[in-house]
Each structure stands twice: as structure tokens, then as C-alpha cells.
Amino acid sequence: MIGGFGSPGTPFSLIDELLRQGQRQLTLIKNDANEAGIGISKLIEQGQVERLITTHIGLNKTAIEWMNAGRLQVEFHPQGMLAEKIRTAGAGSFGFLTDIGLDTEITRPEQLLNWQGQQYKVEMALKADVALLHAARADRFGNLVYDGSAMNFNPLMAMAADQVIVETPECLDPGALPPNQIHTACAFVDHLVVLPRLTSEYAVMEHHVKH
């Protein structure tokens, strides 16, 4: 699973390393597919991704083409359901009962549960072998702080993967981050990669600036 909603919170440098190492047949879990040419779209375009579990890929025409051509399997979930499935795994639970989409085409009969006189949809927990995350700041123990809207799926994924690898441009001494301002406690973090610099992918994207 890979953090980020659009660019904020996307671990572009860790993705580049995955691109370099070239692992194939990956199943990726990410809110979106970034945009053509950046982030996980590079992994898709290089043919490393077999399956994408996501909520919306409308900003990435390349990913839609790959999907329509049958070269990329895509599994869509309502955004809050994807978040909650990951959070459920992160909480050490196995599934939850919801009414979201209960009477729409996204619900299959085998997902329905009658329980104590009510009908629910059962959404199962979604965990991963590895989470790649981006944090604005960290300390050497692996305590994390996110900036702006870059929090999104990152703290949920930190709890839901067997191996949690976090990139950050700023790594501080333990104690530098006030204990009640830490977004992800170090117990959930396995590896920290300190970035010497942020590439252009982390910058403001000109085509999203209105003039």
C-alpha cells in the first residue's frame, strides 16, 4: 500500500526505488493512480503493476487506458470504505458492518449479512505486506508528523502493513516532536529513509494552478 491522495503524502522517492528495483506483478493499494508520468503511474507504465485497489483514477488517462485495455486489473471502492478497510486491518480487526452502497450495484449478494434483524454489507479488512509512506518530519525512533492534506491514508496504512517504510526529508532527535503532536507513533514504523532533497515531483504542479 502506498500513501497519498493526489501528490501530497505520496512517497515519490520510494516509488522511484521500486521502479529501479523492478519488482513485477505488484498489487498496489492507493487512493488514486497519481497522474500520468508521476508517482505510481510510472510503475503502471513500466508494467510492474498487476492489480490496483483504489477509489478513483480520473486524473490519470494512462491508467484508464491500461485498465480499458485489460493490462491493469482495477478494483474500485468508495473512498471512505477503502480508508476504513485499511484502518480495520490496522486495528487488528477482520471486517466491519456498513450500509454504504448496500442497495447499489457495488454490493454483491455474498457480501450481505443479516444480523440481529438488520441487513448489512460486510467489508473485510485490507492489509498489505509493505506500506510505503511519506511524512513531513520524523524522529529517529520513527515517530511521524504529516503536513497539510498529506496525512490522508498514511497513518492508516502505517498500522495495516507488515513492513512499514517511511520516507521523510527531515529526521529529528527523539524528543524534538511534542508527544501530543505525533500523528503516527513509532511502534508502527519499521524503516525510515531520510531524503537528501525533494525532487520536482514534490513541488506545486503548474497545471493545477488557476490563473
Binding site: F5, G6, P8, I57, G58, Q79, G80, S149
Partner: protein
């Protein structure tokens, strides 16, 4: 003023002081530019922002702070950031007072279709389903007809539904319609639009209260 501008101007009147609102991608997002500054509202963005506001000035743009549509937003005093599970907890607990949303189709029962055109458009559901199902008040902003001139207001949605019976009001370039238990009630007509004309371009049953007809 174009018809779309008129529509957006009209839509600003839906925004009540002290409320929390969510603006879907498309026309609703454009509404932001029509809202007066210092308006006492908090705009929720699915990606984890309460208190989103217009595009930040160039020198204050934070590449790590966007809204769900990708714009480099500013925030109002009293805004907060949170993770996606909390963001959707807020939605599912009906803490968003008003969602303005775009649509492919709305029917006279207030059902909404806005996420999928089988075989043509299926980029995913995003946050639409939970917003549609759980916001107490949904106002649809859309053109009355599609590019081929066909009514987007129907007796029954033909496309896969996002949520059933969820829409309270529809604001189009031609009219303002309320979904009532009796059917679609025309509240306002755009300048130059007659009841007969509206009937002729709408594939649904319309009720015209006395003061409109």
C-alpha cells in the same frame, strides 16, 4: 452573464452561514470563486481538510495542501487536517450539512447517478457514494440537458445509481427544482424559461406551484 454563471450565482444562495459544506468536482468546485470572502462556513474536502478555501496566493501555495480536486487551496482560521478515515467518519456521521454535487442523471425520486457510464466512463467512485448517501442535504448543480440536448432529469435513473432518494434540490441552467414526496416541484425558472419550455426539455413529471406557473 452565461447560463453557467447564473447557475453558480444562484447556487451561492444555498450556502447558509455557520454550515459545513462539501463541494464536488465540476460545477460545485467552481462555486468557490463565487462565494464572498469572510463567509462564515467551513468547507470540507474528502482528503482530510475542514476549512478549505480559495486557491492560495502563489507565494503561499503549499504543495502538500490540496483539495480533493487537486487545487492548491488556502485555509480559513479554525481549519483542521485529519486522516481519510476521520474525513469519511465525518461524512457518514452526517456532520456535513450540505453537499453540492454534479450529476449525469437525477430522477424524480431524488436518486442520483454520477459515477459511472458503463462502457464509457468508469474512473471509480471516489467519495461520491458516501457523500450522497449520508449528507442531510444534497443539492445537485448541473446543466439541465446533456450535450446532445437530452434531459438529465428523468423519471427513473438509467445509469448505475450513486445513492437512492438522496437529492433535495436540483439547480440547473433552466430552473431550480425540489424533490418532494409528490414529485419534482419547480421552485424557480431562469429568465426567459417558460413552464411549457421546461416541460418540453424535461423527461420527468413536474409540479408547478401557483407562484411559479
Amino acid at each position: 452573464m452565461s447560463n453557467i454563471e447564473t447557475l453558480l450565482k444562484r447556487a451561492t444562495r444555498e450556502v447558509l452561514p455557520g454550515s459545513i459544506l462539501n463541494l464536488g468536482i465540476g460545477l460545485p468546485t467552481q462555486l468557490l470563486d463565487y462565494l464572498p470572502d469572510n463567509l462564515d462556513v467551513l468547507i470540507h474536502s474528502e482528503n482530510g481538510v475542514l476549512g478549505a478555501w480559495k486557491q492560495a496566493p502563489r507565494e503561499q501555495m503549499n504543495p502538500a495542501l490540496i483539495d480533493a480536486a487537486g487545487a492548491y487551496i488556502s485555509t480559513v482560521p479554525g481549519s483542521s487536517f485529519f486522516d481519510s478515515s476521520v474525513s469519511f467518519a465525518m461524512i457518514r456521521r452526517s456532520k456535513i450539512d450540505l453537499t453540492m454535487i454534479g450529476a449525469f442523471e437525477v430522477d424524480q425520486q431524488g436518486s442520483l447517478a454520477n459515477w459511472k457510464i458503463p462502457g464509457k466512463f468508469s474512473p471509480g467512485i471516489g467519495g461520491a457514494m458516501e457523500l450522497a448517501q449520508k449528507t442531510p442535504r444534497i443539492v445537485v448543480l448541473m446543466t439541465h440537458c446533456d450535450k446532445q440536448g437530452r434531459s438529465k432529469i428523468l423519471r427513473h435513473c438509467r445509469l448505475p445509481v450513486t445513492a437512492h432518494h438522496c437529492v433535495s434540490r436540483i439547480i440547473t441552467d433552466l430552473a431550480v427544482l425540489d424533490v418532494t414526496t409528490n414529485g419534482l416541484s419547480v421552485q424557480e425558472l431562469a429568465e426567459g424559461v417558460t413552464p411549457d419550455y421546461l416541460r418540453s426539455v424535461t423527461d420527468a413529471d413536474l409540479i408547478f406551484p401557483e407562484e411559479v406557473a
